[in-house]
Symmetry: C2
Subunit: 442 residues, 2 copies
């Protein structure tokens, strides 16, 4: 496969990977051709679909065919979805007839469903052939560009899935036995409409390299393989992490996002949080006279409210991740919130004690908190318990509320919970202060 | 394989999955035996290693052998690592001789290295056999419990890796041709000491289902398969997400973590953040006389500092994830920080304008900010630009600093950055206020 170009002229794969993000599309095409064919194909495979599509569009039309045809049908379908609608038919026409049919069928599925992930080429046999016949038949299938070679699926003439045999089992079985007698009948299948996140969960729960995809009538349509799922799991985790950090999912590598898009994806969330946080100014306005009389109270506001934000951020992050992994489901909400209430009480007590000690010890060396410093320290301690508790409750409850409303729980990001808890924190703090300091500082 | 128990007596897989977390170890063993053997094995496979180990320990010693032997050597090695040291030799002794050797070799590797992930059973042939001989030889290898059947690795007599052929290629090749003539020589290999996160990145960059693992001398030791990597990617993402949320990684499903462990894993980070946040009280103490004279300044403190925290959280989350995905590396630091400075200026300007408008418009309806409300609004606007900018700079710079110090960048969690920026925010805000309000409010 390798062409006879002298080695010293060759761009290495690492050099290309380093320079890639900086190259315009035309130079990328030139650079790809500098690699050996094997390396160029590997590198092309490894690119995100968006970039594959840009490469193909940057090529003269007579060269597009080669690159498009090295892609398995599922990847070709993804690529064609990235292309402007008016160019799609021209690209489809470059494929050979059977591939075009497969790609067109895949294009009917949403990209994030099992049907959009699956590969329609897989090894199949009838139940009544012998092992030896099956192996001979598979050698024929292999010539027809069979992509995935892990399991052999046993189907009836309606393409309904009857069982599965691994290649290992087929190879080690008595050659004269029937496939029907060695196949597994208890099957894990995936509906072609299943969301890709759910498909990833099924992969994590079973030790299989590939899973069969079936339609509503039980007909097998293709297989999803673990290597596709590696991409899905990384993508979904990236999306969740970005949402948890208070951004809309970027959907592109960080360095590729243009400045206007970057600002747009972040300014929205930031502005909403800012508007929410304005309520703290309103809440504090209600206690302006308290601050007037006891300025010392203002000093602890950031400390108090940020503790609520931090504990809320812990709670929401843990709960959102547990939901994404399928460890926690909607009916578990009360058990989770109860756990988080317990955690909040303990964590609040720990911070409360640290806070009280800080004030009492500090005062011995540098008397700045006035004669009522002990009561002040009690105000801080009690407020911390209340604020941390409100943080863990809000942080654990919100993801469940969002899921009930069929919204993405990851929207209950750390910044979002912190903002909510900041307002509550101001109210808790000044309420405790009003009660305990009445007649003393206030 | 399936035993002849009447179906109506059987626990279903879903029923067991629902009840699992609530069952003590002894009941789990009983429940597993209620399933059909296929289902029980699948379910056992799907459990986290810690739980597999607890099941095996809960079994009478004569039954341990069966369950241990169904695990491939890499999973058996993981399980044995979870077992208290004094029980390990007894378990190893339950394995048959070849498996015991394989498992003992794997136990020498750290669990999070390629060597600890790999499976030592793979299909191998010599370069000079013909395709037909190779296929016959593989049918023999398959009988010896060959686990992974994706690629055939071509080795010399020193176990050095010469090339690779996929099963599909082998099956579709001319039976009389030599393997040497159809094998690929440009190989992607993984060092046995490579960190599992780096292995996952290599999988994401190449379209392979399995990668060969080689030692420092180039000898092949095993293969890592994409289905193992699905677990790794999920685990690593979970760890990163939990750290980003301001917790130490739980390493166990959320609902399984006992309350004392949960408190311990969260109280540490929370207390460190609390101690850091105490600096805000100190910083504000320095401006106590400002607050005394202009209480109105205190009202905006949560709004100002939280905006810095939110923008910092966005920046650090995006940068940390881009680092984990390999999109951004150490030498990129200046390009990233420059991007974030631009983002910070724009985002700060947007929030600054919203903040100024808020004060100016509000004052028209409800005059609470006094005669200098326009200057006050300018103070808020400028402070917001400064604070948001300091957030994006700190949030983008910190992950690079941590990586340079060989610490995990994910430690620069949203709460950590927010705490840092809170202190800076107080100082920026009061400095701007001192300059602009001198002679007016102050």
């Amino acid at each position: 496969m390798t062409q006879g170009t002298p080695v010293q002229d060759r761009l290495t794969l690492d050099e290309l990977a380093d320079a890639w993000q900086l190259l315009p599309d035309e130079d990328r095409v030139v650079a790809l051709k500098e690699l050996s064919q094997d390396q160029a194909h590997d590198f092309f495979f490894s690119l995100p679909t968006v970039e594959q599509a840009r490469i193909v569009l940057a090529l003269p039309s007579e060269e597009r065919r080669t690159w498009l045809r090295i892609l398995p049908p599922d990847d070709a379908a993804d690529l064609i979805q990235e292309i402007p609608a008016h160019d799609r038919d021209a690209l489809l026409a470059l494929l050979d007839e059977p591939s075009r049919k497969e790609v067109a069928a895949l294009l009917a599925y949403a990209e994030d469903r099992a049907g959009g992930l699956m590969n329609p080429r897989y090894a199949r046999v009838r139940p009544d052939v012998t092992v030896d016949e099956a192996i001979r038949y598979l050698r024929m299938q292999a010539r027809e560009a069979l992509e995935s070679f892990y399991y052999v699926y046993v189907q009836d003439d309606q393409q309904r899935l009857l069982g599965v045999v691994s290649f290992r089992e087929l190879f080690s079985a008595d050659p004269s036995v029937r496939v029907r007698d060695i196949m597994h009948r208890e099957l894990v299948t995936v509906s072609d409409q299943l969301d890709q996140e759910a498909v990833a969960r099924i992969f994590a729960q079973h030790p299989f390299t590939a899973l069969p995809v079936v339609d509503a009538e039980g007909r097998m349509k293709g297989i999803v393989t673990a290597d596709d799922i590696v991409h899905v799991v990384r993508e979904e985790a990236t999306e969740d992490i970005q949402k948890l950090g208070g951004t809309v999912a970027l959907d592109e590598p960080y360095m590729n996002v243009s400045m206007p898009v970057m600002i747009r994806k972040r300014a929205g969330v930031l502005s909403v949080l800012f508007l929410g946080e304005m309520l703290t100014a309103t809440a504090m306005g209600a206690y302006e006279h308290h601050i007037q009389r006891a300025v010392v109270l203002a000093l602890f506001i950031p400390l108090i409210i940020s503790s609520g934000g931090n504990s809320g951020s812990q709670a929401s992050t843990l709960v959102i991740r547990a939901m994404a992994l399928g460890e926690v489901r909607l009916p578990d909400w009360w058990r989770v919130v109860r756990r988080e209430m317990m955690s909040g009480l303990f964590l609040g007590a720990i911070l409360g004690v640290i806070g009280m000690l800080r004030i009492i010890i500090w005062e011995q060396f540098q008397p700045i908190y006035g004669p009522h410093y002990v009561v002040l320290s009690i105000v801080i301690g009690i407020s911390l318990v209340g604020v941390v508790l409100s943080g863990t409750i809000a942080g654990s409850l919100l993801p469940f509320i969002l899921r009930t409303l069929r919204l993405d729980p990851a929207t209950a990001s750390a910044p979002f919970v912190a903002t909510l808890v900041d307002v509550t924190g101001v109210i808790i703090y000044f309420t405790v202060a009003s009660i305990l300091l009445q007649g003393r500082l206030l």
